[in-house]
C-alpha cells in the first residue's frame, strides 16, 4: 500500500510548538477558517468548493429507477465519495482507505440520516418508480479538512440541483425535458454543515478549527460536529483519539454552531447570486407575470 511521505520530525515539532503558543503556520487564529469559496458550474448541481488549498467538487445527478423493495415509498439518495490518487499518493483507485470510509460515513450521517433531503418526495409511483439522487464527491486537492469542504460541497450541490419536472396523469408518468418545463429543485428540509475540530498535545487541550494537511499529520485527535442553522446537532463524531474534557467538547459544539450558521448564510447568499445570474433573460424571466403586462403599457 503506497503511503504519503510523513512530515519530518523537525517539521512536526515546529508546528506543535507554534500551536502551543497559539500561532498557526498560515497566521490564522485557532478558531478561524481559511477563506471558503464556492463556484457553481454551468449545469445545475455542480459545486466546486475551495477551502484554502483544499478543493472539492460535488455533482448531483438524478435518474429514474425502481425503489428498494423494503422501502417502496422512498426515493433513493446516495453520496459517492471518490478519493483518487490524483489527490494524494496514499489513495488508490477502487480500494477505499480508512479516510475515505470515514468521510463517506460522515457525509452520509450528516446529510442523509439527518433527513436533509426529503426522500419521500422522490417517490413517483409507490414501489415502481422513484428518483435516485446521487451526489459524486471528487476531491481535487487535499490540504486538510476534507470533511468540512466535502460536506459544504454536497449541500451546495444538492441545493443548487434541479431535477426534471414530472406529472402523473391517469396512471401515465411523464418526465419533461428542461425545454418543456423548467426543472424543479429538490425538496430540501435543512442544511447541515460539518465543523471539524483538531486536538493537539498529549492532553488534547489545544483545539483548532479547519486544520491544514500538515496540522492533521500531527494532531492527536479530532471531532467533527454537524449542525444546521436551527441549532440542531445532526451528528457528532469523535472517533477515538486523545481524551478531551467533556466541558471543552461542549464549548467546541457551541463555537461550531456559530461557524455553521456562518456557512449557512454564505451558502444562501451564493445561491441567491447564482439564481439571479441565471434568471437574466432566462426562460423564467420571459414567462413571468411581469412580462405579460408589458403590452398594456
Amino acid at each position: 500500500m503506497p503511503r504519503e511521505a510523513e512530515p519530518s520530525l523537525n517539521e512536526k515539532q515546529f508546528v506543535l510548538q507554534a500551536l502551543q503558543d497559539s500561532v498557526r503556520l498560515d497566521g490564522r487564529e485557532l478558531e478561524q477558517y481559511r477563506p471558503l469559496e464556492l463556484t457553481f458550474g454551468d449545469q445545475y448541481g455542480v459545486a466546486d468548493v475551495t477551502l484554502g488549498k483544499t478543493r472539492v467538487l460535488a455533482k448531483a445527478s438524478a435518474e429514474l429507477t425502481v425503489p428498494y423493495a423494503d422501502r417502496p415509498l422512498d426515493g433513493i439518495f446516495n453520496i459517492a465519495t471518490e478519493l483518487s490518487p490524483m489527490t494524494s499518493p496514499a489513495f488508490e483507485v477502487n480500494r477505499p482507505t480508512e479516510t475515505e470510509v470515514l468521510i463517506s460515513r460522515l457525509l452520509e450521517k450528516t446529510v442523509r440520516r439527518s433527513g436533509a433531503l426529503d426522500t419521500e418526495s422522490l417517490c413517483l409511483v409507490a414501489g415502481q418508480k422513484c428518483w435516485s439522487i446521487r451526489v459524486d464527491v471528487h476531491v481535487l486537492s487535499h490540504d486538510g479538512n476534507l470533511i468540512d469542504a466535502a460536506c459544504f460541497a454536497v449541500v451546495a450541490a444538492l441545493r443548487h440541483f434541479r431535477k426534471p419536472d414530472t406529472s402523473m396523469e391517469g396512471g401515465v408518468l411523464t418526465v419533461y425535458t428542461p425545454a418543456e418545463r423548467e426543472p424543479v429543485p429538490l425538496s430540501w428540509l435543512h442544511s447541515p454543515f460539518c465543523v471539524t475540530w483538531s486536538f493537539f498535545g498529549e492532553e488534547g487541550d489545544i483545539a483548532v478549527l479547519d486544520a491544514t494537511w500538515m496540522e492533521e499529520q500531527v494532531r492527536s485527535g479530532s471531532c467533527t460536529v454537524s449542525l444546521n442553522q436551527h441549532g440542531e446537532i445532526c451528528q457528532i463524531a469523535k472517533l477515538g483519539g486523545v481524551p478531551v474534557e467533556a466541558v471543552s467538547l461542549l464549548h467546541c459544539t457551541n463555537v461550531a454552531l456559530v461557524k455553521a450558521k456562518d456557512m449557512s448564510s454564505k451558502l444562501d447568499r451564493w445561491l441567491a447570486e447564482d439564481a439571479k445570474r441565471r434568471d437574466k433573460g432566462g426562460l423564467l424571466a420571459e414567462l413571468s407575470a411581469e412580462n405579460d403586462r408589458v403590452p398594456d403599457m
Binding site: 429507477t65 425502481v66 459517492a80 477502487n94
Partner: protein, 287 residues
C-alpha cells in the same frame, strides 16, 4: 452485488425468451438417454498455444450431446508465469500457484455476474489442489504462476429447469475439464510437472424407466439420466498412479464400500482417457 466498476443492466429483472418445444419433444426428454457406452468419454478437442501473449495457453472443447439445445463445454486457459512475486509478498521457497476460474457471463442459463461467486471460487480451490500435486514447485522459489480459466460455454442443458439441482453435477464436469486444460496450458508454458494431470468424472446414475438399476458411467451428462445418485471427479497422474484431487458427492450407503471404490476406479479410467487426448495434443504441438 455492489459492482460499481461496470455499467450494469437496468434495475428490475429481465428474462431471456423461452421458446416452446417442437411437438413431440417431451417424450424425447425422458426417453433419450446416453448414447455412449458407459466407459467412453465424450469426444474432446484440445489445442495448446492459443493465446500468444500468455506464457502458456490451451483451449478445450467437449462435444455436446446429440440432443438439441445441449451445449458442450468450452474452456480456455492461460498461464502467466513463472514470474517474480510482487515485492510486498513474503518469501516463498516454492512457486506460488493461484488458480482463477470464471464463467463468462453468458456461459450458463443463469447469467453470471462479473464478480466471482462462491462456486467459481470453489472450483478455483479444487483446481489449485489438483495442480499443486503435479507441479514441481520447489524449482521456482520466490516466483508465482497464475492460471486463469474462462468457461466460455458451460456444460448445461437449456431445457432442464434450474431447480432440478443439476448445476452441482455440472460443476464436476467443468472441474474435470479445467484440470485437463490447465495441465495442457502448464505444459505449454514449460512449467515442470511430475506428470500430466487430467480430470475424469464418473457417476452413479439411474436411468428413466421402471426396471433400471443404478449403474456407473464415466463423463456423465446429468440431463441424460433420470437421477444422479453420486459422482466423483478425480485428478489423476497416470505414470505415478496417484490421485491429486478427489471430489466426491452424493449419497452412498457406507455398507457398500465397493460402490465407492468402483466409482473412483471409473473416474480414474475417465481421467486416463482424457490423458491420452492430452498427451497426443502435447505431442502434436511439439512435433
Amino acid at each position: 452485488m455492489a459492482d460499481r466498476r461496470r455499467i450494469n443492466g437496468p434495475p428490475g429483472a429481465t428474462m431471456a425468451p423461452v421458446f416452446e418445444d417442437d411437438a413431440g419433444q417431451p417424450e424425447i426428454k425422458n426417453g433419450k438417454g446416453r448414447d455412449r457406452a458407459p466407459n467412453v468419454i465424450r469426444k474432446t478437442f484440445l489445442k495448446t498455444g492459443v493465446t500468444p501473449s500468455a506464457s502458456g495457453s490451451a483451449y478445450l472443447e467437449f462435444e455436446g450431446s446429440s440432443k438439441s439445445g445441449v451445449s458442450g463445454l468450452k474452456l480456455s486457459c492461460t498461464v502467466h508465469g513463472p514470474r517474480s512475486l510482487p515485492r510486498s509478498s513474503p518469501f516463498s521457497p516454492h512457486i506460488v500457484l493461484s488458480a482463477h476460474v470464471k464463467y463468462a457471463p453468458f456461459a450458463t442459463k443463469q447469467r453470471r455476474g462479473y464478480l466471482r461467486d462462491p462456486s467459481e471460487r470453489d472450483l478455483g480451490t479444487h483446481l489449485e489442489t489438483a495442480l499443486r500435486g503435479a507441479i514441481i514447485a520447489d524449482r521456482w522459489p520466490k516466483s508465482g504462476v497464475d492460471i486463469i480459466i474462462s468457461i466460455i460455454e458451460g456444460d448445461q442443458d437449456r431445457e432442464t429447469s434450474k431447480s432440478q439441482g443439476d448445476e452441482t453435477w455440472d460443476m464436476m464436469n467443468v472441474l474435470s475439464g479445467c484440470i485437463t486444460v490447465a495441465s495442457a496450458a502448464l505444459a505449454d508454458a514449460g512449467i515442470d510437472c511430475v506428470d500430466t494431470v487430467a480430470g475424469g468424472v464418473a457417476a452413479l446414475v439411474q436411468d428413466a424407466g421402471e426396471d433400471s438399476t443404478p449403474r456407473i458411467v464415466v463423463d456423465p451428462i446429468p440431463s441424460d439420466h433420470e437421477k444422479v445418485l453420486g459422482a466423483c471427479c478425480v485428478a489423476y497422474l497416470p505414470t505415478r498412479d496417484e490421485v491429486t484431487n478427489l471430489w466426491f458427492k452424493g449419497d452412498l450407503p457406507a455398507s457398500d464400500a465397493g460402490l465407492y471404490t468402483q466409482l473412483v476406479e471409473n473416474g480414474i479410467q475417465a481421467s486416463r482417457n482424457a490423458n491420452r487426448v492430452l498427451v497426443e495434443c502435447l505431442g502434436e504441438a511439439t512435433s
